[in-house]
Amino acid sequence: MASTPTREVARRVFAREFNDASYTFKESDDDRAPVYVLLPTGQRANRVFLVGTLTETEDVGEDSEYWQGRVVDPNGDTFFMYAGQYQPDAASMLRELEPPAYVAVVGKPRTYETDEGEVNVSIRPESISEVDEATRDRWVVETAERTLDRVKRYKEADMEDPATDEYIAMADEEYEQLSIENYRQSVVGALESLQDEQAEASAD
C-alpha cells in the first residue's frame, strides 16, 4: 500500500518546558527530514499546540513585516512566536489581534543561538485563532495531563537499562543541568491557577 507521510502530532507543553527544549535533531540525513526539538521530559516534538493569553504583538521586522507575539500560560511563562512573509495568515492575525486575547496556536518549534551563545526556543506559527476561555481551560488541563504522563515516565525510567525509551535517555543525556521537578511544578502551578480563577469566577 502506498504510504502517505504521516502528519506530526502537535505536542502539549507548558512554556517553561518548551523554552528549555534547546536541543534539536533529525531522524535521518534527508534534507527534508523533519526537525525535532527534544522536550526535557523525554519526548520529541516537531509541532506544538498551545492556548494562552496573547499579551503583546510587535512588528520587529526591518525591511519587511516580521511579527512577534507573546503568549503567556497560566504560570506566567511566555511562548514567543515569529511570523513573517512566509506565514501570511499567522502574520496578519498578529497584526490584527488586540491583546489581551485568548489565542490558540499551532506551530513548529524553532531554535536560534544568540550572540551570547544561549539557545532561544520559539514557535513559527502555522495558524493562530482567537478562542474563548473554555478552550483555554481545556488546554491547560490537557497539557497538565500530558506533561504529567511524561514526567512520570521519565521518573520511572531506568537510565542504565538499554531498553529505556530513546528520547528519555536522550533527555537524560542532553539536559543534565535541568531538573525534571520544574515541570511537575508547572503542572501543579497551572492547575492551581486555573482553580483559583474558577473559584473567583463562581464567587462573583
Partner: protein, 314 residues
Amino acid sequence: MTESDLRTHATEIHEQFSDQLEIDVDDVVERLDTLVNDYQVPISEARRSVVNTYLDEAGMDRDQLGGGDGGGNEQVNVADVDAPEEWVDVRATVVELWDPRADAVAQVGLLGDETGTIKFTKWSKSDLPSLEEGKSYALRNVVTDEYQGRFSVKLNRTTTIEELDEEIEVGDDSVEAEGALVDIQSGSGLIKRCPEDDCTRVLQNGRCSEHGEVEGKFDLRIKGVLDDGEEVTEVIFDEEATEELTGIALEEAKEMAMDALDTTVVADEMRQKILGRYYRVRGPTFGRYLLADEQERLTGAVDADEILIKARSI
C-alpha cells in the same frame, strides 16, 4: 512451506473427500508440494487447484464437499478483513442492497456482522442465488479485495450461500475521535463537484479528472485534522456537518464567495470559527479519513482536581 504445513492442509483436503473418494494423503501432499514449492503458487490457490482435481475425479460440485468448511477457509469477522485476495468465509446479514452500476454486477451492497460492515459484490456471471436485504447468510469461499484502503468481499462462481435461521446482529463500526482541530486542509470550504451521474469528484480549476471541463455543482465540506497530543485523526465533514460546525450554510457561503469574487474566503472564515477549538466526532472510517456523522464542540468545564492530586503525589 514445510512438509508438515503441507501435510496439515493435505489432511484437511483428504477429510473433505473421505466419504466420496479413496485418496491417499501422501498423494495430496505431493500435489500441493508441486504447486507451492515448484510453481510458487500461494497455498490458498494450490488448495483450490488440488480440490478441483479431486472434484473432477469424483464428478462432484464444490458445494457437495464434505467437511462443512467449504474448502478450509478461515471464517472471519468483517472488521478483521485487512488484506486483499484472501479466500475467506463470512457469516453476515445483508444490511443494504445498492443498485448495480454495471451489467457485470448482479448484486452489490453492504454485509454486516457483530464487528461492523463491509461492501460485497456478486458478479452476474457467477450465477448465484439472490441475497435478500435483512436476511443472514453463511457465505463460503468469498475473496477479499481492496480499493483505496477500503476492503470488500467478492462472491464468485465457487461461493456457497446458505441462509441462516439465526439473525446475525450488525455491530456499529463507527469510531470516535476527540481533540483540538489543528488544521483545515486544502479542498475545504466551498467546493465544486462534477455534475455527471455517479461522479462526485471535486473539481480542480473547473476540471473533473474523469470528465474534463464541466459546470460544477457547489458543495460544502471540511477536511480537518483533530489532534489530542498523542495522535492525529483526519476528519471529513460533509455539507450538513460543516454547516453545523461553522454556522455557515451553502447559500450563505455562495453569497460570501460572490461578494468577494473568490471562493477561498469561505474556508478562511471557517478557519477563524473552528480552528483551535476542541471537538468530539463519531462516524465510520473511509480510507484514512473519519467521516463525521455526529460532532460536538467540547466546551464543558474540565475537572482539574484529579490531575492535581496526581501531580502533587509524584
